[in-house]
Amino acid sequence: MNLQGKKVVLHDMCLRDGMHAKQHQISLDEMRSIAVALDEAGVPLIEITHGDGLGGSSINYGFGAHSDEDYLKAVIPHLKQAKVSALTLPGIGTLDDLRMAMDCGVHCLRVATHCTEADISGQHIGIARKLGADTVGFLMMAHMVSPEELLAQAKIMEDNGATTIYCTDSAGYMLPEDVTDRIAALRAGLQPETDIGFHGHHNLAMGIANSLAALEAGALRIDGSVAGMGAGAGNTPLEVFVAVLERMGADHGCDLYKVMDVAEDLVVPLMDRQPSHQVRVDRDSLTLGYAGVYSSFLLFAQRAAQKYGLQSRDILVELGRRKTVGGQEDMIEDLALDMAKRRPQSP
């Protein structure tokens, strides 16, 4: 694979996808210090919101330690070169949330839908464009559809006004060939001026390999997360990916040692503080990737398993079998109650 001189725009997720691992409890100081360090390290884009995007703070997904507005206001004024993005899922976040984010100085709005439901993105993408945001359409759980179907959905988002389209491996299920096929289909079928992005999860430890496959097939933006902090087994570990890009001579614009130091000095200690915040490939996160389950279901399944005396792996496999999609966290307790009822009663 030759990526010599290839331009890559890196987008860090540890302060948004990493919120899942931290149960949305990152402090304002932690968020600011990590964002400032990423800025210093040359990372061009940093995502900041509740793990489930703007308006995600809820019983269903977990309340954030602070509001999205407080996080954005705590971070954005301190950044020199890095731009901030905010994620939103239509059906959870509202247009008012997008206006608030833009008022706080957000540069990029990423509008996320399930990979077959792009046509619920019209209002959100429309207003993002109107407000002057760098507007991204983010097609989640992209392993569940063929490259052709993914392209058809991407075109809906492009028609709505998105200027970058993401293939999002929310379950960490894809293998490099799956990524190649999808990114190539998007690159061939979308307008030449539309950029392509890839967002990986490391549940099958494919984060790096999949991101490289995406670049080779024509992606420009790649999501990663310092120390991999993200839902499930985390995202593509950004410091590892930068090292690999460096070896391959790609044009990523980041300072490798500084990115390593953010991971080691600031993010790893956050994860070390509580056993439940450890982000790694273990039998549960591996099951997400193996069974094609939305990565942020991990901690919910573990808690439900503990509360109702079940195995978390059984819950995750059943969630995969039922073809659940991102946002259906409420299904997990409901399913656990059903599974507990069916379990043979001990005498």
């Binding site: 809820s58 019983i59 269903n60 239509p90 059906g91 959870i92 509202t94 247009l95 399930h114 077959t116 439901e117 046509d119 619920i120 019209g122 209002q123 959100h124 039922r322 073809k323 659940t324 999609v325 991102g326 946002g327 259906q328 966290e329 409420d330 299904m331 307790e333 409901d334 109650l337 059903d338």
Partner: protein
């Protein structure tokens, strides 16, 4: 007995399902179906069922409103055009039942406030949203036992049951449902989430209702209230079923979470039974129209 003459505006999924239900009504007689596409399947079906139709929108209905004695209209179009539809028909004394999330009139969730909404004499009554019809009764069931400080609902619906109207109005769905949780459900603060699932075969509509209360919940009273409310809804949506809960759980801040998990199976009048979200909306709207009709005859 003469029934109250009604128009259905919108010949899509919701309008067509409502038409089938209205044809069985003892109180409401659907006479007009209004669409905007001459090739609409919904309009063709309505003609076969004996209705007059127009594909020129409400403008095509207005010249006939007085002559045909229209007294009731159900608007199943979109939030953007609802105000114009209302304004066009109001001069003829037509009472409007709004199935869009436009919400220019008071909200109506039948088992909670049907009589009050109809008795208000308003010319426009809003049916909130499908998610609101399915979940707000549960918020109200808790609230009538103990004040609900925060009510949050998650409605998960089959992709096939959601037409372009809802897809293009997703923001109105979340905002209107939230407002209904507060105004009709009684929660001090509301939040609404909708998730669309494309699985095949399509999933039944699922709803989760979380209520937060300040004091330790009176579990027996809440269980009884939830059961009674479910039976009330079942009088017009027989497939409204409690799947799990109520679950009572203390929160870290000393308050309590009460969670109820429902499944809503439709009657299958037009779309298959999984589209409980359509069924509960059209059944609630028709029930509202029938109460208006009963009042008009009394």
């Amino acid at each position: 007995m003469t029934r109250l003459k009604a128009a259905i505006i919108g010949s899509g999924n919701i309008g067509t399902d409502l038409l089938y239900k209205a044809l069985r009504s003892e109180w409401v007689e659907p006479v007009w179906m209004v669409g905007i596409d001459p090739d609409s399947e919904g309009l063709a079906r309505a003609r076969e069922l004996g209705l007059k139709t127009t594909h020129e929108g409400v403008a095509g209905l207005v010249p006939h409103a007085a002559a045909d004695g229209l007294q009731l209209a159900f608007d199943a179009t979109s939030a953007y055009v609802h105000q114009a539809n209302h304004d066009a028909l109001a001069p003829f004394g037509v009472k409007m039942i709004d199935l869009t999330p436009a919400a220019i009139g008071p909200y109506c969730i039948p088992p909670v406030n049907l009589e009050a909404a109809v008795a208000s004499g308003e010319s426009n009554i809003n049916m909130v949203s499908c998610g609101g019809q399915a979940t707000i009764p549960m918020v109200a069931a808790v609230h009538r036992v103990q004040p609900v400080e925060y009510g949050e609902i998650v409605a998960t619906v089959a992709s096939r049951s959601i037409g372009p109207g809802t897809r293009n109005n997703i923001d109105e769905f979340t905002r209107t449902t939230r407002a209904g949780i507060e105004a009709v459900g009684g929660a001090k603060v509301g939040k609404a989430i909708i998730v669309i699932n494309p699985a095949e075969p399509p999933i039944m509509m699922r709803d989760t209702i979380h209520c937060v209360v300040a004091e330790r919940p009176d579990e027996a009273a809440i269980r009884a209230s939830v059961k009674a409310m479910i039976e009330d809804v079942q009088t017009y949506v027989p497939g409204y079923l409690l799947k799990n809960g109520p679950v009572f759980e203390p929160l870290a801040d000393g308050r309590w979470r009460i969670s109820t998990f429902l499944e809503v199976q439709g009657l299958g009048d037009y779309l298959p039974t999984y589209a409980g979200n359509l069924d509960i909306m059209t059944a609630a709207a028709l029930r509202c129209g029938e109460l208006i009709a009963q009042g008009a005859k009394a």
